[in-house]
């Protein structure tokens, strides 16, 4: 049967299990949109291409499936760049379909032409420019395969208009993916697993340092088994939040720059560090030379290039973290609580001495941390929380006790302001059954506020909690601590009336200025079922995120947070 390239594309997407794509039309993708007109694929029309890619990214984070977005050529494609880099830094499987000018025009600076494969080269796992209609099937199959296997990541497929228009005789085939230079990681080094088991058995003060790899590999159960059977405390990275229940007695919460004191002290004291699905990011390690100074390090990761990239490790194990943890668990017999008594007692003492805490506002204003605590209480830790970037993100990470993987959706590596709202859209589309809350700042929310239109169009009851301090709060915090309080261009008190803004879009808007109204407002918002809600919380303007490891300092050298 003769089919146009665009129709072949959509069929291939469906064969990959795609039922939803986030996109924005334009000239070069007219054939694709024409094919979508009578396709079963659900298309979510965003208001800006950046919204599409973040939504697809969040869809992938929440479901574990590959997220898909679609944009036109040129500016449409370049608007995806920040979102692609975001997904790349956090190893999120997405496939970005970009329109391209007709092949006869490529390289001639045609209208709305941009070299998107060139531009995205360093921020994708791989990318393709499709040059023949006959290649569509193979390229789509490879793209999804590459995006979701091994260390996941974004793949771009650039689709010239004429390739999409051209009709060819085509019937789908069940070809296998066979790429000479790309093999899916199978198995791992059993000898290294035995060495690791030996170290775990001998360790007196072990700590597990778990990251986004646990979530990518769906390895939370194995992680929990290891921790519980060996009585090993677990600290997670920002990306690892939810991989181990934060309310578990063995949980140390997050480590690093804004981690808990007890997590960072445990890293400083431990004699064995079991690093699983992590990359020793600078925000985690602080001064790298003094990170876990007394510890032997076991590093388990699927990406061989992460081993030894930032720190030297004693036992590297390259493999799927879930499989490796299962193998380790299979070789260990449970230890008695008494064997770990001293170490756990030390940690519990730190937990009592240095709990996460915050002061009160001199002017009696709402403390932003209190808002997060209330969100946690009211949702019982069962909501999906997306965040923007900055103080709002860190407070959400600190004060919402994540119980489940795939419920904390944040731009960790790239730190993309404007991520949270489109991410909430993607999350709610993926999981309409769950409460989805975007913890936002007044700066970040303005970076993709247009996606409120998307949320209204699709009747998505997401709740956007703006912690409004009328500052770019995290930058102001650094200016306060390290630049002599010179608040250079961080006062953003000229801003829209967020209540009116919400109403203008057809959303619900509320403003909360008094502490006693926080809970009421959240309860009211949780009752809304057919449209988004913005709650504009006027919070203490100069609240800081504590504790804090100053940049370049050792983890045990923390500022603030002692109440």
């Amino acid at each position: 049967m003769k089919l146009r390239g665009a129709e072949i594309l959509l069929q291939c997407l469906q064969r990959e299990g795609v039922d939803t794509i986030f996109g924005y039309p334009g000239g070069a993708v007219l054939p694709i949109y024409d094919a979508l007109y009578n396709s079963d694929i659900r298309h979510i029309l965003v208001r800006h291409e950046q919204g599409a890619v973040h939504a697809a990214d969040a869809y992938a984070r929440v479901t574990g499936k590959v997220g898909v977005c679609l944009s036109t050529s040129g500016p449409g494609a370049t608007n995806l760049v920040t979102g692609i880099a975001t997904a790349n830094m956090d190893s999120i499987p997405i496939v970005c379909l970009t329109g391209q000018v007709a092949t006869s025009l490529i390289g001639r600076d045609a209208f709305q032409e941009a070299d998107i494969t060139g531009i995205t080269l360093p921020i994708t796992k791989h990318n393709y420019l499709v040059e023949r209609t006959e290649d569509i099937e193979q390229v789509v199959r490879e793209a999804f395969y590459i995006a979701r296997t091994n260390r996941p990541g974004p793949v771009v497929i650039d689709l010239p208009k004429d390739i999409m228009e051209r009709a060819i005789d085509w019937t789908p085939t069940d070809g296998e993916v066979n790429i000479r230079g790309y093999r899916v990681m199978k198995g791992f080094n059993h000898g290294q697993v035995i060495t690791a088991v030996d170290l775990i058995q001998k360790a007196r003060k072990p700590v597990i340092y778990a990251g986004g790899g646990i979530i990518a590999s769906n390895a939370s159960e194995e992680l929990r088994k290891l921790a519980e059977s060996q009585k090993i405390p677990v600290t997670t990275t920002l990306m690892g939040l939810g991989s181990f229940p934060a309310d578990h007695t063995l949980s140390l919460g997050m480590l690093g720059m804004h981690g808990t004191r007890y997590a960072n002290y445990a890293i400083g004291e431990c004699d064995l560090l079991i690093a699983v699905g992590v990359r020793f990011d600078d925000r985690v390690t602080g001064k790298i030379e003094t990170f876990a100074p007394h510890a032997k390090v076991i590093h388990i990761d699927i990406d061989a290039a992460e081993i030894g990239k930032n720190v030297a490790v004693h036992v590297p194990i390259v493999g799927d973290v879930g499989e490796v943890l299962a193998a380790i668990n299979g070789r260990l017999s449970p230890v008695e609580e008494s064997q770990r008594q001293d170490w756990l007692a030390t940690i519990n003492l730190w937990k009592q001495q240095y709990p996460l805490c915050y002061g009160s506002s001199a002017e009696g204003r709402i403390m932003p941390q209190y808002v997060i605590e209330k969100i946690y209480e009211l949702t019982k830790g069962e909501a999906i929380i997306t965040t923007e970037v900055g103080q709002n993100q860190m407070w959400a990470a600190q004060y919402y006790k994540f119980k489940h993987p795939r419920t904390f959706i944040t731009s960790g590596g790239l730190g993309t302001m404007g991520f949270g709202l489109p991410a909430a859209v993607g999350a709610k589309i993926a999981r309409p059954d769950m409460t989805v809350i975007d913890v936002a700042g007044d700066g970040s929310i303005q970076m993709n506020i247009q996606e409120l239109g998307t949320a209204v169009q699709y009747n998505l009851p997401i709740i956007i909690c703006i912690l409004n301090n009328q500052y770019l709060g995290m930058v102001r915090q650094w200016q306060s601590l390290f630049y002599g309080g010179r608040y250079s261009h961080t006062d953003i008190s000229v801003q829209p009336d967020f209540v009116k803004l919400a109403e203008a879009y057809g959303a619900v808007g509320m403003r909360v200025t008094e502490v006693q109204d926080v809970e009421k407002a959240l309860q009211a918002a949780l009752q809304v079922t057919d449209r988004p809600v913005i709650i504009d919380f006027w919070v203490e303007r100069e609240a800081n995120v504590y504790p804090m490891v100053p940049p370049g300092a050792s983890l045990n050298n923390m500022l603030g947070g002692d109440c």
Partner: protein, 160 residues
């Protein structure tokens, strides 16, 4: 220390850009780079000379392997390998010095491939040490122009 990496890649457009972009982005420095097809038309070979300690080379190798189109990497520094480079040198050569230059060319088993009124083009192949040496020897006469191919290399014996 300089390492010679023999990298086999899919012979596809953009592969060279992918490899060089990786080097730039990660801050590794390419000392020389030679690219060409192999006995298999679907595969190209890049011979990359990169400077760095073992840790750097390990990272370079691992990062290169992450490129989908990179098939295999061999560090020839650790192997018994034949390494060759080709150089063309245009040197000033009036009548009084020609004999001296010819003598140098003979010593290095190089060849004169073009004769101008006041210049010669000399072609030499060899390992990098030999190429450096012939360049040094010809310098006193005045080198007008010089071009080197970058190193190509192959493991000795039956191995591939």
């Amino acid at each position: 220390m300089a390492h010679t990496l023999s990298v086999t890649v899919e012979n596809k457009p953009g592969v060279l850009t992918r490899v060089t972009t990786l080097f730039r982005r990660r801050g590794y420095n390419i000392e020389s780079l030679a690219v060409g097809t192999t006995e298999d038309p679907g595969i190209s070979r890049m011979t990359i000379v990169v400077d760095g300690d073992d840790r750097v080379i390990e990272q370079v190798t691992k990062q290169l392997y992450k490129l989908v189109e990179v098939i295999k990497i061999v560090d020839l520094t650790e192997e018994k390998a034949v390494e060759r480079e080709l150089v063309l040198i245009k040197v000033k050569a009036d009548a009084n010095v020609r004999a001296d230059i010819v003598q140098i060319v003979d010593i290095f088993r190089a060849r004169i491939v073009d004769i101008g009124r006041n210049s010669l083009i000399i072609e030499a192949t060899g390992d990098s040490g030999k190429i450096d040496a012939i360049e040094d020897s010809l310098k006193p006469f005045g080198i007008i122009e010089l071009v080197r191919t970058g190193k190509v290399a192959m493991v000795r014996g039956g191995a591939k």
